[in-house]
């Protein structure tokens, strides 16, 4: 028979204390108590470099797993790359990689729709640690680079989200796929509406403000409206309309939008040093 251990004494009292402690932490977090935010920022600063170092050490293992688990994707990618191979023959692999990286970086430095707004180029360091949090990404710049909560984040293709949390050298971006991030939009016809995400993997949707008579066609661009007190400046590309549904009950049109930016392949991004009006 096993010896009763310290770990098995007074379990009911222990679980009661832990439940109360968890509830207290939840309340503190909901009330935005400053010490909780500081602890979270501190953890972000500590964990990300540790994770980054660990990722670097385990690169060969991850590559091997990627080769196994992404076999189907790799097969398609391989076919596409074979087509491109003739054009690239003669260039060394390392030079090509460096050039590609430079091109991606240059793209971020020459984005027409952010002209007039000061920007900070950052690199996405990691995605999510859990499948329940598909709507965030982390970048390698923080408050020491002048980044603040609420600032919009874009790629050369368009809007991807805004800054949700900041630590001195890291930030968390809330992606526009998050259903809680409502965004004021404008159509080609200058009609205004409000859209939101529906989680990763689903089309973005404009479900407020577009009346039945407002012209909205498949393929039309959708940009941010930038109206007073908007979370984003005007004219940032969101995407293009891929489906229009008429809702006779609410007398509106519901627009499904394919996002301009590919959120599954984020690399370099730009943080716009633009703050929403209070």
């Amino acid at each position: 028979m096993a010896v009763p251990a310290g770990g098995r004494r007074r379990p009911r009292f222990t679980i009661l204390v832990l439940v109360l402690l968890s509830a207290t932490i939840l309340v503190f977090d909901a009330k935005d108590v400053p010490v909780v935010s500081s602890i979270r920022s501190g953890m972000l600063s500590i964990l990300e470099p540790v994770g980054g170092a660990f990722r670097w050490v385990t690169t060969p293992v991850r590559n091997a797993w990627g080769g196994i688990s992404d076999y189907g994707d790799l097969k398609q990618e391989n076919a596409r790359l074979r087509d491109e191979l003739d054009g690239l023959r003669g260039e060394s692999v390392s030079a090509a990689d460096a050039i590609a990286q430079l091109e991606r970086l240059k793209e971020q430095l020459d984005v027409p729709f952010v002209s007039g707004i000061e920007t900070e180029v950052a690199q996405v360091t990691s995605g999510n640690f859990s499948s329940f949090d598909d709507d965030t990404a982390q970048i390698d710049k923080g408050s020491s680079s002048g980044i603040e909560v609420g600032m919009p984040v874009v790629t050369a293709a368009g809007l991807i989200g805004n800054i949700d949390r900041v630590s001195p050298n890291r930030s968390v971006v809330r992606l526009i796929t998050d259903p809680d991030l409502a965004i004021g939009i404008k159509l080609k016809s200058d009609d205004l509406g409000v859209g939101r995400g529906r989680g990763s993997g689903a089309n973005w949707v404009v479900d407020r403000g577009i009346g039945l008579t407002d012209p909205a066609l498949k393929g039309d661009p959708v940009v941010t409206s930038g109206l007073e007190r908007a979370k984003f400046p005007p004219g940032l590309p969101v995407g293009t309309i891929v489906k229009v549904t008429r809702d006779q009950g609410q007398q509106i049109q519901i627009l499904e939008v394919q996002l301009a930016a590919d959120l599954t392949r984020l690399d370099f991004v730009q943080v716009l040093k633009w703050k929403p009006e209070a």
Binding site: M1, A2, V3, P4, A5, G6, G7, R8, R9, R10, P11, R12, T14, I15, L18, V19, L21, S22, A23, T24, I25, L26, F28, D29, A30, V36, I39, R40, M43, L47, V50, G51, G52, F54, R55, V57, T58, V61, R62, W65, G66, S69, S126, G127, N128, F129, S130, S131, F132, D133, D134, T136, R165, V172, R174, P179, D180, G199, G201, A202
Partner: protein, 177 residues
């Protein structure tokens, strides 16, 4: 008083799981879903060390995970603590701890923990239960936790030291639950 060696070993296990969660787990998705190593450790603590220690380790695993990601702070701590406690109570009072059974109990406990997390997230204004494919995530994460228990339970036994629940005999009647 808790043995300092036990504390040290558990700290090592939990921190290592956290580092693996950050640095490795996102790159090893199972059918596109990121495994939850800290959940596996929490449940393994319930299996190997009983309800009280399980609840404590579950709480710390959950809190650490909450600090690493957005969303309500303390929700995973609550869910993991309650479920590790439940898993520990079930095992010490009902059944002998065998490897396959332990994996099944870890699967069940993990599923309930994720259900509590998702429901709590919805109550607190999130969308963990209504957006995306939450049931698939819950099933796959729980299943991977069950599979990981093959490693996590022996690790938990090592961390718990001589006080760990015996895997061959079970502990029916030896514990004040």
């Amino acid at each position: 008083m808790i043995d300092s060696g036990v504390v040290l070993r558990w700290t090592l296990v939990v921190v290592t799981a956290a580092v693996f969660q950050i640095g490795l787990a996102p790159d090893f998705p199972v059918v596109g879903i990121v495994p939850d190593l800290l959940l596996a450790v929490a449940m393994a603590a319930g299996v190997a060390a009983g309800p009280r220690r399980g609840a404590i380790i579950g709480f710390w695993c959950g809190l650490l995970f909450d600090l690493m990601r957005p969303g309500p702070l303390g929700l995973s701590a609550l869910a993991y603590a309650v479920c590790a406690y439940g898993v520990g109570s079930l095992l010490v009072s009902v059944i002998t701890v065998r490897r396959v059974l332990a994996a099944l109990v870890v699967f069940g406990g993990s599923f309930v923990a994720l259900l509590i997390f998702s429901a709590g997230n919805e109550v607190l204004g999130g969308h963990a239960l209504t957006v995306g494919h939450p049931w698939t995530i819950m099933f796959v994460v729980s299943a991977t936790a069950g599979v990981l228990s093959v490693v996590a339970v022996p690790l938990a036994r090592w961390a718990e030291g001589p006080g760990a629940i015996d895997s061959r005999e079970g502990v029916l009647g030896s514990v004040d639950v």
